[in-house]
Symmetry: C2
Subunit: 194 residues, 2 copies
Amino acid sequence: MSADTREKILQAAFTVLSRQGYENTSIKDIAEEADVAQGLVHYYFKSKQLLVLAVLEYVCRKVEVGGGLEGEAGALRAFEETKEMMGSRTDTNALYIQLIGVGLHDKVIGAGVREFVHRDRMHIEDIAREVLHQREADPTRARGIAAVVWAAMLGIMVQKLVEPEFNSDEAIDTLAAMSLSAVYSSTPAPVAER
Amino acid sequence: MSADTREKILQAAFTVLSRQGYENTSIKDIAEEADVAQGLVHYYFKSKQLLVLAVLEYVCRKVEVGGGLEGEAGALRAFEETKEMMGSRTDTNALYIQLIGVGLHDKVIGAGVREFVHRDRMHIEDIAREVLHQREADPTRARGIAAVVWAAMLGIMVQKLVEPEFNSDEAIDTLAAMSLSAVYSSTPAPVAER
DNA sequence: CAGATTTGGTTGAATAACCAAACAGCATTG
DNA sequence: CAATGCTGTTTGGTTATTCAACCAAATCTG
């Protein structure tokens, strides 16, 4: 049993990972932070890879977006929540970015990250579809819009992490304006092909 | 002298980094790939960190965006070039993403990455300013737009790397549509503050 | 112009760590 | 007397970086 111990390790792992980063964090460091024997970490988590994925899951599930409103109101609400998240949950964001990088060459972590990305984007796509529905616009465009909005949010996250003085509020406001005005415009892709 | 050797090491480092990723790549691996003694790598590059930054510089400088056209035409052209880059230079992109992650907890790499990000975003901001100028719109908005466009491009890059079947062309077309329609709209930030 | 000396490039081994994972065994509890 | 939770050590590697020595070509010297 002792789900406490498991969680204690997860919390300690997050603390150490936030302080030192993935590649400077050893199982030993985590065990010490959790005040627990080194072997116990491997008792609960088969490998370091599975541990860090569990940590990501742990810190993300903690604060899932509440949701509630629908259509454009819901979208605006989501943008506002993202604004706050951008400044307050930097450790979680940093872990996310880091694991994306590691996952590019690590099968296990790569698979985990892929699921996270997919799930996040789906969430945005749902909101986009609602807005398009409300406007009676072509719902097919939800996929492309969601891809761009997710992408922009990730990129804004990165900028905020790389240079903390970055004005992420301004960027998100601009993104909100861009995505909503894109919904109005009837041309899905006004770019000349070829 | 022997700038050849230096470049041979850079090329070998890129090869190995692309194959194995930053944290599974040792100086020894690179030396072997370059067919050179291990000590020589440290003769040319003081540390592993400075080496990988030099590699990023090396592979990025190789294909700088040509530029040429101005205003909206230049912007559309840049979007098209990005489309191609997204599929053809995946190794370079993967290295970029990876180093962003590593740089979050490594001072040396972090400083290098910060410069890269800043330079890239500035380039986009220049284009945005041109378009705004052409439209006789408020040039102040260039900064916010550039932040979002850079962010979106990075995020699209990530999605393409994480799931190769991702339709990055569609995403970039959507992004182009969004950013150009944002230029027309007169409200910089229609989101309710607070 | 022959010999000495410096220089820049290069080598391979030594250093001084560090690590994930496996393991054997000790408690505590049901 | 299991079984679950937990411990501390061992195993079998790995690593970046330093260092003394080597060599060939360039430069200097007499």
